[in-house]
Symmetry: C2
Subunit: 359 residues, 2 copies
């Protein structure tokens, strides 16, 4: 197995502490299930090293019985489930928002995303073993072993999503134990939600009547209107980013590629948090005309991305490729980068555009 | 009670046979529950007159027992349910698509939509009474009493949607029996789906292993790419319009209104087929700057529209008001009318824009 330094060398590193990195787009598109060492890494604090035999998961709060589970308990006492799901950072494609105005945060290209077969146990099964108290408007809070500005990392999800069959406590990724940077030995996997709600290095799960008051949940990962600035942002007025919107990215060719006159293969991905992608339109001339891509690989779950491909005849010259996807509700992506700009740089869903030269 | 001629006189009539009409937008926005005589009417053929005591509903196909139910049977044998749901034509806002290129079909403004409290019985309860055979990939076909180009009107929905708790066989609208033009004595109500899937004047419900082969289901109400024309359209390659996308409309002031300098009240609706609307941005200058509307009335169900309102200070001059809504997945509407154009004029979800003059 490779070590962390070797894996870092494969990726585009945005920061060392916290460690944030993404793969080049062509490599991302090479396999429907993203290899763990090509999978983007988003950390908020340190990268904890946890010994498997010392690991304990606490389940407490509004439950009948507080649980304290070793990894062996989790593996032995609950049914194993495999879910194919895409994980995606809320800041994926943030870099492209800078054409409108500056944004805060790491300048992610379209590679802050990846898809894996996650193996674990259903969070619902663990919560039912603990016994959830009756009552409306419940939330399930997660706390992790990593430390962010003096606090443990913490977020929460609505109880209904915690009980959904796709939501896991995962101990393996593509059939192998989690790598340290992906949350060894245990992480949450909340398919369709922004990656921030799928904490790594899990320590504690608490059923409670309100969202987590951890700063990451209470203050960060909010979608603000375009008129809001860092000075005027009020978290109470920002929308908490959970389910991710429709998006599509051209992975191949990459920007600046030099192509040959004639038929060129264009490849990419499309994804919507909880809806199927039904059509992908690709343009070789910046959106003046379109052709429909083949949906090449689709796991038939809204929680995993769709791979698409198309052959375009490109004449000599400079061209702007563009992609526009459609979801099962007939909803599509805006062309204009102004339509989704926000100062935090979240949820850039405008058309992905790639300039290439053809000779 | 008014007669049909009186009700027609209240509406903007696009056609007499089939009868198609919508209310002016200011009147549409006057009440959260749209009065039946202000509710848009979309017919595809004649407007059948059905005597209540002669009405029978047949339930057949892949069921254990074929049912033949009078209206009295339906009312007496099943629990009554009230669902607040918005009904919307797939062609709502079609007229605005003509700024890009001509489109076929009636030129609906933003009034081909309305919200009612529907009273009826759950379709699921009726299907369970008949007993659905086991087996995957089932569809529920509807056939009606109206005749469209020599065929009875017919469509279908997936079995999962037919079994959803919100899907009704409705005999009343806002507490009154259905008006003739709204499907007396019984219609389907399939919340979140395009109105075409909620047939009026119901005659027959058939559980089957494929979608309806009626021309309306098989050939019409397909979403095509922008490069498809009437000559090249292949229904097999069009997306069947079911769940409706995110949309928002300025109802007040209406286009061409003459306003007075100072604070002006802007009002409208926003809706997404199966997601909550979380934010509505309104611009007084064509999208150069934005403010957030108050979500004034929301039934707290994704199946009913959200009413919004905002007070804008407008200086003297000509202004373009614009609205842009956001759904719970952080997905939004495109600004550019080119982004959603299709030759059938379906699902216009680009920003609604209203020019006004202020003196």
């Amino acid at each position: 197995m490779s070590n962390l330094a070797e894996r870092k060398a494969r990726l585009i590193v945005h920061g060392e502490t916290p460690y944030n990195a993404e793969p080049p787009l062509v490599r991302l598109r090479a396999a429907y299930l993203t290899p763990a060492d090509d999978f983007y890494v988003r950390c908020h604090g340190d990268l904890p090293a946890i010994a498997e035999d010392e690991f304990r998961l606490t389940v407490d709060g509004a439950v009948s019985t507080t649980l304290k589970l070793s990894l062996h308990d989790l593996r032995s006492n609950f049914s194993h489930v495999v879910v194919t799901a895409t994980m995606q950072c809320a800041g994926n494609r943030r870099a492209d928002m800078r054409v409108v105005a500056p944004v805060s945060g790491d300048p992610w290209d379209g590679g802050a995303i990846g898809t894996a077969e996650w193996t674990g146990v259903r969070l619902a099964d663990v919560l039912r073993e603990a016994g959830i108290h009756d009552g409306a408007d419940k939330h399930v809070a997660f706390e992790s072993h990593d430390t962010v500005e003096g606090h443990p990392y913490g977020v929460s999800i609505p109880l209904a999503k915690a009980l959904a069959p796709e939501t896991l406590l995962a101990f393996a990724m593509n059939g192998e134990p989690l790598l340290p940077e992906h949350g060894f030995p245990l992480r949450a996997v909340v398919p369709g939600y922004a990656g921030v709600r799928s904490p790594k290095w899990l320590k504690r799960i608490t059923v409670q009547d309100r969202p987590s008051d951890n700063p990451i949940q209470a203050n960060d990962y909010r979608l603000y209107p375009p008129d809001v600035t860092a000075e005027t942002a009020d978290p109470a007025k920002g929308h908490t980013i959970n389910t991710m919107p429709l998006n599509a990215v051209i992975c191949e060719p990459m920007r600046g590629a030099e192509l040959t006159v004639g038929t060129n293969r264009i490849r990419g991905y499309a994804i919507s948090g909880d809806r199927a992608v039904v059509r992908v339109d690709v343009s070789g001339n910046g959106g003046r005309s379109w052709a429909q891509a083949s949906l090449e690989h689709d796991a038939n779950t809204p929680f995993a991305w769709t791979f698409w491909t198309i052959a375009l005849d490109l004449p000599a010259g400079e061209h702007e490729l563009a992609v526009q996807a459609w979801d099962e509700a007939g909803q599509t992506q805006p062309s204009d980068p102004n339509d989704t700009w926000n100062y935090k740089g979240y949820l850039n869903t405008t058309w992905h555009r790639v300039r290439v030269s053809v000779t």
